[in-house]
């Protein structure tokens, strides 16, 4: 019974935990609720149920353009940062060399740098380089902020990768490329897919960097920002926001499942015999 009480704290702790979760998620719950409300102004009491705001979405050309831009940026940024992340994660997890920790720290740093400052610095650099602002510059910016996430997912997938698996493959006659294709890749595939999904989600939702680095082409968050100026457009924004929320949630869930599977796959090996 003692073990049980350690995991199910009664009284104040559970009240605290409940309030904590409410505080985190209450604002998010309002979005879907108001998005199916008939009244164009988001306030209680609710006036009725409608899916009209959702039906209107595909008939807004600017929105479709923004969605398309977001898709292009998201895919490019996630592929680029995952490829770079693979190389870095492999080096960090596989080799021991001086400065390894420092390099890891520097790669992870954008996670805690103030995003506005990063965005402004990137804008300055891009302009100095003579690049004109476009979706391409947004992609570059997103790669910078995505790599730490990509690294986190990939290192947890690569960590504990038993090096003797690759040696066993070579020992059984397989070439270096064959080993990569038949052993390394299948083992880390879940982590790679997970990284792609995480990066895509981050890029899809990212506003500040996109705002500074894009030219005339808007991504979805920038489009939403623009729409907020018109009160009448608010229900549409709420509907779009809900869809983004659901999409992000689904993508992150799948990514986490895959990340765990990848970690289990590589660590299993050690776990069982230890």
């Amino acid at each position: 019974m003692r073990a049980r009480s350690r995991f199910l704290p009664g009284g104040w702790l559970s009240v605290y935990a409940f309030l904590y979760i409410v505080f985190l998620y209450l604002p998010v719950i309002f979005l879907p609720i108001f998005s199916i409300n008939t009244s164009p102004t988001p306030k209680f009491p609710l006036t009725g149920y409608t899916l009209q705001w959702y039906e209107d979405l595909p008939h807004t050309p600017a929105l479709l353009d923004a969605a398309w831009n977001s898709l292009i940026v998201g895919i490019s940024a996630s592929v680029l940062s995952t490829v770079l992340g693979i190389l870095a994660a492999r080096s960090i997890t596989r080799y021991r060399y001086p400065g390894r920790r420092a390099i890891n720290g520097l790669i992870m740093a954008p996670l805690v740098l103030p995003e506005v400052i990063v965005a402004i610095s990137m804008l300055l650099v891009m302009l100095q380089l003579g690049l004109s602002l476009s979706l391409f510059t947004v992609v570059l910016g997103h790669v910078l902020v995505c790599i730490p996430y990509s690294m986190t997912v990939l290192t947890s997938g690569f960590e504990g990768f038993d090096r003797s698996l690759e040696e066993a493959s070579a020992d059984l006659g397989e070439s270096a490329f064959g080993t990569f294709r038949r052993v390394t890749l299948p083992m880390v595939a879940p982590a790679i897919i997970s990284s792609l999904l995480v990066c895509f989600t981050i890029s899809l939702d990212e506003f500040i960097i996109a705002f500074f680095l894009t030219g005339t082409e808007a991504t979805l968050p920038i489009y939403i920002w623009g729409q907020l100026r018109f009160a009448s457009k608010l229900p549409g924004v709420l509907a779009l926001g809900t869809l983004l929320l659901v999409a992000s949630f689904l993508l992150m869930t799948v990514a986490e499942i895959l990340r765990r599977r990848a970690a289990r796959r590589t660590q299993n090996e050690g776990g069982l015999y230890a």
């Binding site: 493959s169 070579a170 052993v183 069982l272 015999y273």
Partner: protein, 377 residues
């Protein structure tokens, strides 16, 4: 060792070939100033179960990995089956390895693991299947082909690793501490099975282990290694009974050491004076090189027997029991002998009541001078 006495090998069911399979010549492996392996030379014969035995860091795994092709000698040469291995990568060597972690591919099932190396040989489907089945049968895993790698017990993982290597029909099977992950009972069972399997397939096995009993139980010959050097290469019995130095003697179980003065040295024998055992004539070990006037005599604790009541023996020493430790089937007695700086340890089976000898009892011990082994100081 041309005059390897046959009589020491009553269990070598398979006739031993004298043909060399692995020839290691003056191999050194340095990491900066540190020498993991220091000028090692060794010949492993065809069809032999050979063990590299030593404490961790003695270079045994380094040597095994160089035979497999995962590491290269800094200097010296390695040949397998008469073919020099220099410049030949691991994937083109006639050796296969059972890894310490087994390295079972977790994303493949048992059958796919075993067939992994065969895929490159581009065999006919039926032929490949037949060889996989045969390998699984050899390691008693028939019927488990579809089992997922993640659903295997430690013993089964060991068997899969074995089958996956054997299916390649290597000239040499390398085993890197394959039993260290198993619990005691399973390990002992696997030792017997591994020995049987080696006898059945007739492939040269090279086993790396730090467990002296494992090496003694399975091998035709053993190389004992310390600090990157090979200290002794001999049959298990010879290694155990005639260790070349105190280090080897100590590593292979308990040994009592007694200081001795050399009185007379001839080609094959030594006469020494000791305080506890008096003047003793012993065989002179082949590797014995005199170093001053002193030597060390060793005797295994189980080669000292308690003399009960009025029993006498031709050779005996008298002393007093100072400690007694009970181990179930045996009792360990610590016996102080006048004149010896360290008391002797004696192991005695409990059939006659050695477990009831009170501490402080005067006692006489019988020994066979044959069991005394001389080691240079």
């Amino acid at each position: 060792m041309p005059d390897q006495p046959r009589i020491e090998h009553p269990r070598a069911e398979r006739p031993q070939s004298e043909k060399p399979m692995i020839e290691i010549r003056d191999v050194t492996r340095s990491y900066g100033a540190f020498k993991a392996l220091d000028d090692a030379s060794l010949t492993i014969r065809e069809g032999e179960f050979f063990s590299l035995l030593g404490p961790s860091g003695c270079g045994k795994t380094t040597l095994l990995r160089m035979i497999a092709g995962f590491d290269n000698p800094t200097s010296g040469s390695i040949a397998v089956g008469g073919q020099p291995m220099e410049g030949i990568p691991a994937n083109r060597r006639p050796t296969n390895m059972v890894f310490q972690s087994y390295a079972i591919f977790p994303h493949l099932n048992v059958e796919q693991n075993v067939a992994y190396g065969l895929k490159r040989l581009k065999l006919q489907g039926a032929e490949e299947k037949r060889r996989v089945e045969e390998a699984l049968a050899q390691v008693s895993l028939t019927g488990l082909g579809k089992r997922r790698a993640t659903e295997l017990s430690g013993g089964q993982r060991h068997r899969v690793a074995l089958a996956r290597a054997l299916v390649m029909r290597p000239k040499v099977l390398l085993l890197d501490e394959p039993l260290s992950a198993l619990d005691k009972k399973l390990r002992e069972q696997m030792q017997v099975e591994l020995r049987r399997l080696q006898q059945a397939v007739g492939i040269t096995f090279v086993l790396v282990t730090h467990d002296q009993y494992e090496a003694l139980a399975m091998s035709d010959r053993i190389a004992v290694m310390f600090g990157g050097r090979i200290a002794q290469v001999a049959s298990p019995k010879e290694i155990y009974q005639r260790p070349v130095n105190r280090q080897v003697a100590d590593f292979l179980g308990g040994m009592n050491f007694v200081k001795a003065e050399i009185v007379e040295e001839s080609g094959a024998s030594l006469v020494v004076d000791t305080l506890g055992f008096g003047r003793v004539r012993t065989d002179k070990p082949k590797a014995f090189v005199r170093n001053g006037g002193g030597a060390t005599l060793g005797i295994r604790p189980e080669r000292l027997r308690v003399l009960w009541d009025n029993a006498t023996a031709k050779f005996e020493v008298a002393g007093k029991v100072v400690e007694r430790h009970y181990f179930g089937e045996i009792t360990h007695l610590i016996v102080e002998i006048p004149g010896l700086e360290k008391p002797l340890s004696v192991t005695e089976t409990n059939d006659f009541g050695a477990d009831d000898i009170p501490v402080g009892t005067p006692i006489r011990l019988a020994y066979d001078p044959e069991a005394l082994v001389a080691m240079a100081d």
